[in-house]
C-alpha cells in the first residue's frame, strides 16, 4: 500500500514537473521568441516582413512573391465553375492546377496554396500537359510568328509546388513576346527590351534558376503603354 502511494506520489510529481516545464518553455519559445523576431523583422525589413507588396500608380497591386492570374472578366460573374480565359494582352504565369480554394472555413476567400500531386504516369496530368502545350502554341502564334510545340518550355505546361509561383523561365517569357507586342500594338523590340530588363539571373551566378517575375514584368508593360511614344 505504501509502495503504491509512493509511486503515485512520484508520478504526480513527475507530471507536475512536466507541466511546469512545458508552460515555461512555451512562454520562451512560443511567446518571447516569435515576438522578438517580429520586432527585429519589422524594424529591419518592414517591407519584406509584411509580404513584399508591390505598388503601381500608388496602389498595392500584389506581392512580388505571390503569383497572380491575368484573365478576362467572366462572361457570367455568378458562375463559379466558368473556366478562366487568359487575357492575352498580359504575360501569363505558369498553370496552377493544384491551387485549391478554401473548403474548410468558408468565411474567408483565402488562397490555398498547393500542388497537383499527380505522378508522371497519371492520365489527368498527361492530358493537362497536352492541353497546356496546345494552348501555349495557339495563343502565342501570331500572323508573323509561328510557335512550334518543341519550343514550349517545361514551366509553361506544368504547375508549381505552391501553385503561387511568381516566376516563369526567361524562355517562356520570350515565347510570349510576339503575342504581347501584337495584342498591345507595341514593337517587338520594345517588349524584348522590357523583358531583358526584368530577367533575373542566378544569384551569385549559381544559386537558384534564371527567372522573370510576371507581376513586375506586367507592371513594366503597363508603364510602357502609358508612356508617350518617343
Amino acid at each position: 500500500m505504501t509502495i503504491m502511494n509512493t509511486s503515485l506520489r512520484n508520478t504526480g510529481r513527475l507530471i507536475t514537473a512536466a507541466v511546469r516545464t512545458l508552460l515555461v518553455l512555451t512562454v520562451v519559445c512560443g511567446v518571447l521568441y516569435p515576438l522578438a523576431v517580429t520586432g527585429a523583422a519589422q524594424a529591419l525589413f518592414p517591407g519584406k516582413a509584411n509580404g513584399s507588396e508591390v505598388k503601381a500608380d500608388g496602389k498595392v497591386v500584389g506581392s512580388s512573391l505571390i503569383g497572380q492570374s491575368y484573365s478576362l472578366p467572366k462572361e457570367n460573374p455568378d458562375d463559379a465553375d466558368e473556366a478562366a480565359r487568359a487575357d492575352l494582352r498580359w504575360f501569363q504565369p505558369r498553370p496552377s492546377n493544384g491551387l485549391g480554394s478554401n473548403s474548410v472555413n468558408t468565411q474567408y476567400a483565402l488562397i490555398l496554396s498547393g500542388a497537383t500531386n499527380r505522378s508522371g504516369d497519371n492520365a489527368e496530368l498527361i492530358q493537362w500537359v497536352k492541353d497546356a502545350k496546345a494552348a501555349v502554341v495557339k495563343d502565342n502564334s501570331t500572323a508573323t510568328h509561328q510557335v512550334k510545340p518543341s519550343q514550349v518550355p517545361v514551366d509553361a505546361v506544368t504547375s508549381s509546388g505552391s501553385g503561387l509561383d511568381p516566376h516563369i523561365s526567361p524562355e517562356y517569357a520570350e515565347l510570349q513576346v510576339h503575342r504581347v507586342a501584337e495584342r498591345n500594338a507595341l514593337p517587338v523590340g520594345k517588349v524584348d527590351k522590357l523583358l531583358e530588363e526584368h530577367t533575373d539571373g542566378r544569384i551569385l551566378g549559381f544559386i537558384g534558376e534564371p527567372r522573370v517575375n510576371v507581376l513586375q514584368l506586367n507592371i513594366g508593360l503597363k508603364e510602357l503603354m502609358s508612356r508617350p511614344t518617343s
Binding site: 512555451t26 519584406k48 490555398l112
Partner: protein, 554 residues
Amino acid sequence: MSPVLAGVLQLLALIAALALAYRPLGDYMARVYSSEKHLKPEKWIYKAIGANPDTQMRWPAYLRGVLAFSLVSVVFLYLLQRLQGMLPGSLGFQAIDPDQAFNTAASFVANTNWQSYYGEQAMGHVVQTGGLAVQNFLSAAVGIAVAIALVRGFARSRTGELGNFWADLVRGTVRILLPISVVAAIVLVACGAIQNFAGIHDVGQFQGGSQQWNGGAVASQEAIKELGTNGGGYFNANSAHPFENPNGISNLLEIFLILLIPFSLTRTFGQLVGSVRQGYAILGTMAVIWIGFTALMMWTEFAHNGPAFEIAGGAMEGKETRFGIGGSSIFAVATTLTSTGAVNSFHSSYTGFGGGITMLGMQLGEIAPGGVGSGLYGMLIMAIIAVFIAGLMVGRTPEYLGKKIGTREIKLAACYILITPALVLCFTAAAMALPTPGNSMTNSGAHGFSEILYAYTSGANNNGSAFAGLNADTQWFNTTIGLAMLLGRFLPIVFVLALAGALAEQKPVPETVGTLRTNKPLFTGLLVGTILIITGLTYFPALALGPLAEGLAS
C-alpha cells in the same frame, strides 16, 4: 551555365558551409552538454519548474522524464486545437476535429510534423505559434537529449547515470536551438519570408479585385522547423510557398539548417567519447549516403522519365521556377534523409525513381544524417549491428568504443531496428487490405500504392513529408498514422535509453590488436554496407510494388 552544373555547385557550396560549421558547432554542443555551470535564465527556468538540474538520472528515470514530458505535450497540444474556437488570436478558425487534433498533436510532439490539415485555413496564431512552433523546439531538444544520453552511456563506466533530462532539455533549447533560430529567422525575413501578425487581410491585385493572405509568424517558425528537423509548414505548400522560402538563398539556407545539427552532432559524439576520429567515421558514413542519394536524385530528375514529363520536356511538375530541378532535388534528399519532411517541391510528382529515393531515404531509418539527435542514436544502433556482424565473421566478442556488445546490448539494438519496419509494413498492409482507405488515393496503380506506403513510412520514421495526393484527413489515416508516429518515436527511445543504461554500467574493455578499428574508413564502408543491406532486405518487396514498378515502366 547549365542547370546541372548550377545544381552541383549549390551542393558543393552547401558541403563547404556545413564543413565550416562542423567543428565550432560540434565542439560547442559538447560543451553545452558537459558544462557544470547553469546560465542565469536557465536557473530561473529550473526554479519555475521546481527541478534540480544537478540530480543524475539512471535510465528508467531519464526515460520517465522523456515520456512524461511528451505525454503532457500531446495533451496540451490536443486541447489547444480542440479549444481553438474559444481562444483569442485564432482568426475565427474553429476547433479542430478530435481525430485530426490527435494526429496533429502526436505528429508535432513526435518530431514528425505530418499534417493532415491545411495550415493557412485551419490554424490561427495561438495554435501555430504558441503550440506547433513550440513543439518544433521541444521535440528537437528531446531528440538531442536522448542522443546525448546514449553517448554518455558509451563515455561513462561503472555507473548507471546518464545525466539530467530536464537540464538537457532546457540547455538544448536555450543554448542551441533558440540562438541559431533567431539569426536564421532574421536572415529568412531579409530574403522575403514574412513575419507579422496581420492575420487574414485583403491585398489589391494587378487587374483589380483582391487576394486574401494569412499573415503570421512565418519566418520564426520556418527557422526552427528546419533547424529542429521538424518540417511542419505554416502554409499548405510548406517550403514551396514563397512566403516561407522566397528565393535561391533562402532555399540553400533552409537545407543548411536541416543538415546542420545532425552532421555536427557526430563531432559532439567524438568529443564526448574522447576520440573525434570515431565521430569522423560516423560522419563519413552519413556523408557517403547523403551525397550518393543526392547524386542519384539529380540524375533521375534531370533525366525526367515518365509519360507526362516526357511530353512536358522536364520534371517541373510540383517544382518552383526559382529553385529549379537542382535546388529541389537537394532539398528533397536532405528532408527525407533527416526526419524533417519539409518540402520545397512535391514528391508525389517526382519521377518514379525519384519518389523511390525519397522513400528509401526514410526507410534507412533517417540516419544520414537523420533527425536532430535521432539521426545520431539511429546511426549508433546501426554501428552496434555492424560491429556485431563483423564480430560474428571473425569469431570475436564484438566491442564498440570500449564496451562489450553482449546479448543484452544486441537484443536492444535488434528491437530498435525492428520497430519501424514492423509499423510501416503492417499498417500499409492493413490499409491496402481494408476496403475504404484506398479511396483516399489521387493516383492509381503503383503510384497509388506508393501514396500509402509513403504515408506510413513517413509517419513511423517521424519524417512528415507525403505523397500528398493522399487525402489523409480521414478517421482511419488520422488515427493509424497518429499511432505510427507515437510508437515510431517513443518505442525506439525506450530501447535507446535502456541500451545507454546497460553500456554505462559496464567497465571498459581494453583495446587490443584484435579490436575492430571503428575509427577507420574500413569501418565506414562496413557500416554503409550494413545499413543498405538491412534496409534493402526489409523494404525491397514493398518498394518493388510501388516506386520501382513505376520507375521501370517509364
